[in-house]
Assembly symmetry: C2
């Protein structure tokens, strides 16, 4: 792919106008939307209005007039189509970790102590494992971790209460077959909990089609809700009213403003709310979701998926052609690929990944680094992660990013002292 080829692809891209919805900084190629999505141009004005009009002028009246009280479900309704859920099934609230805590407790409570094993991947995003650890402790259960997805089927037995997976892996970008694994789990009598942190807004998700049980996900990655945006939680309608979650706060009560001393859970997904909604951050997330509604007219998630695969295909091909020092960790097969590409560096550069990423960032190509554990069975490598957000990433960005990566490695620009110190938190 020449640079002109890339520019031609961009010119022919039906989704290209969506990039105009984002305030991307000049001179940066931002390939880290899988960590923090870019800022929609509409966000500052929407949040200003929430602050000055809804809060500043209308004050307490906005709980009714501006619909603050319903915001978690209203945003959930707007998010639902992106994950194959229906209106009334999704709630936007709290963090992914806290929502995971709710649904894992709910799932284990549904198993009524008959099954107590939670199965997951050892390389799952750590907060998922920490939260699962906490929940299995509370239920006297056990967290069983596999080193490879291939080990999962054998663990779906009569002791397995829950199969908890992150749909698209945060390190490798590998995507699980949600429908298949859900079916296998349910055939064994287990329930499924899906973490959609790297899926929602990135790849088509069909929770109802897969008949999944529970899902949670993140508002600040591909949904572009802003740093620390509230997360979401989905529960299959068959479990609503049956399952119990222990963060029994007043806004999960069937009648919070009756101020009764006894908890009676609300009907439906509202029961998964706990405290007061974070109104200002919800207003920001609204703008992220609105872009997907604009994308609907241009083909929606199916079109976004086509572009995402074209971008990651192109990136992989360019890396293979131009960066002999790197190898591709993310699956080539489309069915197993999310919307990111992770690279590892070949010997003798295995440990240079951090410095290489810093050198790239200094040149305006923003991806991120994730340390691996070479001592593990699978000799987990250090990774360069590149996220491709079809809403705003261009083919020319793919081309230019690889040019910079090839140059950083060819010139050994990453050896400069300022790129060595691991003092960054992300």
């Amino acid at each position: 792919m020449t640079r002109d080829d890339a520019l031609r692809s961009d010119a022919q891209d039906p989704l290209a106008p969506l990039r105009e919805q984002f305030a991307l900084p000049e001179g940066k190629i931002y390939l880290d939307g899988n960590s923090l999505g870019a800022q929609p141009k509409a966000t500052p004005e929407r949040v200003r209005r929430a602050i000055e009009q809804e809060w500043g002028t209308d004050l307490i009246e906005s709980w009714n007039k501006a619909g603050w009280i319903d915001a978690p479900r209203r945003l959930g309704d707007r998010l639902a189509p992106l994950i194959g859920a229906r209106s009334g099934e999704v709630l936007v609230a709290d963090s992914t970790s806290i929502n995971l805590y709710k649904v894992l407790h709910a799932a284990l409570s549904l198993q009524q102590g008959q099954r107590k094993k939670v199965v997951s991947e050892r390389s799952n995003f750590p907060t998922d494992l920490y939260i699962a650890d906490s929940v299995v402790r509370a239920h006297g259960g056990e967290l069983v971790l596999v080193d490879s997805p291939d080990e999962i089927p054998a663990l779906l037995d009569e002791h397995c209460a829950v199969l908890m997976l992150t749909h698209v892996h945060y390190r490798t970008g590998r995507m699980h077959d949600m429908a298949l694994l859900t079916r296998w789990a349910q055939q064994a009598g287990a329930l499924t909990v899906w973490d959609l942190a790297h899926s929602a807004g990135a790849v088509p998700v069909d929770l109802l089609g897969a008949a999944a049980d529970f899902a949670v996900g993140c508002g600040y990655k591909y949904l572009n809700g802003g740093p620390g945006a509230p997360a979401f939680v989905w529960v299959h309608p068959r479990h609503l009213g049956q399952s119990f979650q222990p963060l029994m706060g007043w806004l999960g009560h069937e009648s919070p403003f009756a101020f009764t001393p006894n908890y009676r859970p609300a009907v439906g997904i509202q029961q998964y709310q706990c405290g007061t909604p974070v109104v200002l951050s919800l207003a920001a997330l609204e703008c992220g979701l609105a872009v997907f509604e604009q994308a609907q007219a241009l083909g929606g998630m199916a079109a976004l998926r086509r572009k995402s695969l074209a971008l990651t295909d192109a990136f992989m091909a360019e890396v293979e052609a131009r960066v002999p020092q790197a190898r591709i960790v993310t699956p080539r097969e489309h069915a197993f690929r999310g919307s990111q590409v992770s690279l590892a560096l070949n010997a003798p550069l295995e440990d240079a990944a951090y410095a290489v990423m810093q050198a790239l960032i200094a040149r305006g190509v923003v991806g991120d680094y994730r340390a691996g554990d070479p001592a593990r069975l699978d000799a987990e490598p250090h990774l360069l992660r590149f996220g491709f957000t079809p809403l705003y990433t261009r083919f020319v960005d793919v081309h230019d990013a690889v040019t910079q990566l090839a140059d950083v490695l060819a010139r050994e620009a990453w050896r400069a002292p300022e790129f060595q110190k691991k003092n960054k938190v992300t």
Copy 2:
């Protein structure tokens, strides 16, 4: 107090300049800062900067450059002086309900199953009771509720694990003697959990002076952090590293960016963090805390308390002199009074409180209504609540609010049909 007297008091008020820090709407007398604090004028610009500069331009770099990652502790350090805590002891995160869940679990874990009873007030804010109910279920314990504070001492026995109280009562504005009750509880071997939702920024609080054990509180009431602002949590240093809280998220890990599969709690209050900080809402709360730093030069919480008592004294005196249909529910004794005054209506108007409040709001006097349960032992009345925020409430507001209240009752303006329907959530 004539209106001129009130204006004279305002002219002599050393704290009067602080009102200029708030964007209060013209023509409203806002006496509901105990529910939602007013908007600091600095907030829109601060949040705009967080959106456009920190997020939009600097993107992922802001986790380091703008200090997003430390914001929960940085804000905690700024909040600490308002509650008698030290730097490093307070974390701003999640909701009050969720923080209460953390500390109640921590407190019960410290009791190691030897004591399992949590004592609280039946009329405590419901979310506190719901969360306590959830936590005692998890520990096989019991929630014991008193109808009057007088019953508390008898319950502080060898079975009592935790005394959980809201320092200033949300309905009555009655304030507990934190130091005394903490001493009594601890003498009996119990731990104390204080909800400071109606205290932080409203009355002086001295957690360390009282040697309290745990505290939580709200960011959107007297701290003026904005609707749904993150809440805070404090743990006495003697319990840090000893206590266990079950919302074990990645940012409570001692080394979150090592991405290890096993949870190791961070040292200190950081262990009470769970997920990613809600950055935009934290930026708004910063502006609320900044006003208290300005107040420091004018006498700080001691001066704010003097003014708060002068305001509530004046309001009580005016109501007594001019509103024979109402009686004062909030304690007259300063030592037992927060920064609000609650009124009940005398027979035969007991049930008119909702309509009276709506009529007041229609005239620009904004308080709120809290339904009571007349069937209770103490015949809990319906209440008109008025919050007095010494940062921005004036003596002339007190005077004019009572004038309107007296007029609404004298003319029976509250009987208009539009004030009858209870369709508001707050």
